[in-house]
Amino acid sequence: MKRSSISGLLLVGLATAVVLWAAWRLNSSPTGGGPQGTRIQGDGFPKVLIDHSGRQVVLPYKPMRIASVTLATDEILLALVEPSRVLAVTYLAVDERVSNVPDRAAAIPHKIRADAEQIIALQPDLVFVASYLRGEIVKLLQESGLVVFQFQEFDSIATIQENIRLVAQAVGEEAKAEGLIAEMNARLQAVASRLPQDAPRPRVLYWGARGQTAGAETSVHDLILHAGGENLAAAQGLVGITTLSAERVLAMNPQVIFSEGGQRTPQPGLPASLLHPALYTVEAVQRQRVFTLPQRYMTTISQYIVEGVEALAHLLHAETAGQRSTL
């Protein structure tokens, strides 16, 4: 082979290696360094919305025709505003497996997805979209004269509460938001107070149906923490969502394993796809401390995460309270 071909191939190989390394490293952050969500200024209407590129849009009055295109904002909105003000929610909102508000969502007149045509045709006066929605579609909506709020997903309870405040600001229900947040904190406090004081935190592992686990900087991590457990994945140094093989689970030896499923209430046992025969040596399996929680607790980044905390806490500590969890 000629020298130029060899050096050309080496260059390509080097470039590939650099690119892959960059891809690997930059994957660690769950929010992925995406743009900031929309910020909002002003106490009473009109308010100014500022998106991540600095573009400013005026929200002239309290929005009465609100369209929500993310499940998180579906859940938050339905708790903050009267249903008559909500024009549209996502299709997922009526899906019992993933939504925490299926009944209330069923009453909303329109179910939509992130489709420019559908949204424009509804002519809402405020649209909540995900911050990672394709930039072209956001542009299309903005250029059609709609006011777009880009909702950034956050993965800790504290930042979820910040988000609730942001949404409330946009729809003019700041007082209700504070009430909601206060209720959240009260319930979390109640859970914390019932935790056994001197016992060590149980080593808990979340293991999703496709083998994924949640390390630090995830909502599930916060879930486990507030439920009085120790997130084994985070303790091992994992950040974000990663996949675990049965081998690693064996090595970690958790005391409790919980997974997610489509039913509405927590169940004992794990999904069949995870039941590796070798796992019988794991402490959690031996003590039968394996559960399946409803999927909607795992994916939610709204106030309903508190329900998940309560459910998990109940499962983790019912034994120490003397009762077997009646599931």
Partner: protein
């Protein structure tokens, strides 16, 4: 098997009419049905021909901001891919050749996947098509570089080189997919399956000049392509500079493919099946086949995009899925009905 004996102009006129008809249908149908009259008056108003009202502002927004650029992109993408496929089939003497042969599609896919994975697209949304375009061109350049030695680029080596580079790109893409997190994964898969839901006027402005000018230049080389089919030696003695011709045509086909795939994602079967369909209708002469392929491909994709939007309302199917569902059975039919075309190969 019929070959339309009509004059070339008549065939082109018919195809243009079909394209316009498909376009109007695509503008009228969707999650919101807009009556045809409104569309016509709206368009005429845009072209400053009439001043009438007669449409709602919602409909105006939907048609002018969302559907019209989308339909235009569908036409450009379909035309570009079909034309590129025709050129590939002619140069490689291979009825199974398609636009992605020189690694353009796989390179663009890799560029797009990396951009989405690294969330670069959220910095500026034009980064996604830009890096996909770059990826496509780089892949094609690599393929060409690997296959060229001593100033000559033999066709067989080019084919093999394209397969090698494409496989490599696919491997890298799979790797990135395997380490991506869930939200990005979905976006990546949707891009890989092709879709025009994010089409804007900016896309049209960026791609239309390249596609239309590139297509026009390719059509100028119709006779050369005809002659190239007769083998390199005969082409040379007929006065065709075979090497240069091939270089130019492959460059144009590559550029055409890259510029449309970077906006639409990977859409298969258009570049493979449409040239065959049109060859059945207008014959293998490239003077008719090239413009016919472009128009036929444009119509095909406009209709495919329409189907993607309305078939399973209110969901939206991916474009690549529709083209595959239509393309595969048709291709099988082609194979059976026209064995003779493929016999010499």
């Amino acid at each position: 098997m019929t070959i339309v004996k009509a004059s070339p102009w008549l065939t082109i006129a018919v195809l243009v009419a079909l394209l316009v008809g498909a376009g109007m249908m695509a503008l009228a149908l969707g999650s919101v049905s807009v009556p045809l009259q409104e569309i016509v008056t709206l368009l005429l108003h845009q072209l400053h021909v009439t001043d009438d009202g007669g449409w709602t502002s919602t409909h105006a927004a939907v048609i002018l901001q969302v559907r019209l650029p989308r339909v235009l992109m569908a036409g450009l993408v379909g035309g570009g891919l079909a034309l590129s496929g025709t050129v590939m089939q002619g140069i490689f003497h291979n009825p199974m050749a398609d636009p992605g042969l020189l690694g353009v599609s796989s390179g663009a896919a890799l560029g797009a996947v990396l951009t989405l994975h690294l969330s670069l697209a959220t910095q500026h949304y034009l980064l996604l098509p830009a890096l996909a375009f770059l990826g496509g061109l780089m892949a094609a350049a690599t393929v060409y570089g690997m296959a060229t030695s001593g100033g000559k680029t033999p066709v067989a080596t080019l084919l093999l080189s394209g397969i090698a580079v494409s496989s490599f790109n696919v491997a890298l893409t799979s790797f990135v997919l395997s380490i991506s997190r869930e939200s990005v994964l979905r976006e990546i898969l949707f891009w890989l399956m092709g879709g025009l839901e994010a089409s804007t006027w900016e896309h049209v402005r960026l791609s239309a000049p390249i596609v239309l000018v590139g297509a026009a230049v390719v059509c100028l080389f119709a006779r050369d392509l005809d002659i190239l089919l007769y083998g390199e030696q005969r082409a040379l003695t007929l006065g065709v500079d075979a090497q240069r011709c091939r270089h130019l045509l492959l460059f144009l086909a590559t550029a055409l493919t890259a510029v449309v795939v970077c906006f639409s994602g990977t859409v298969g079967f258009v570049g493979l099946v449409v040239p065959h369909m049109l060859r059945l209708l207008v014959g293998p002469g490239h003077q008719r086949l090239l413009p016919a392929s472009f128009l036929g491909g444009a119509t095909f994709l406009v209709l495919a995009d329409l189907t993607a939007r309305v078939l399973v309302r209110p969901q939206e199917l991916r474009l690549g899925v529709i083209t595959a569902f239509v393309g595969v059975p048709f291709f099988l039919y082609l194979l059976r009905a026209n064995r003779r075309i493929l016999e010499p190969l």
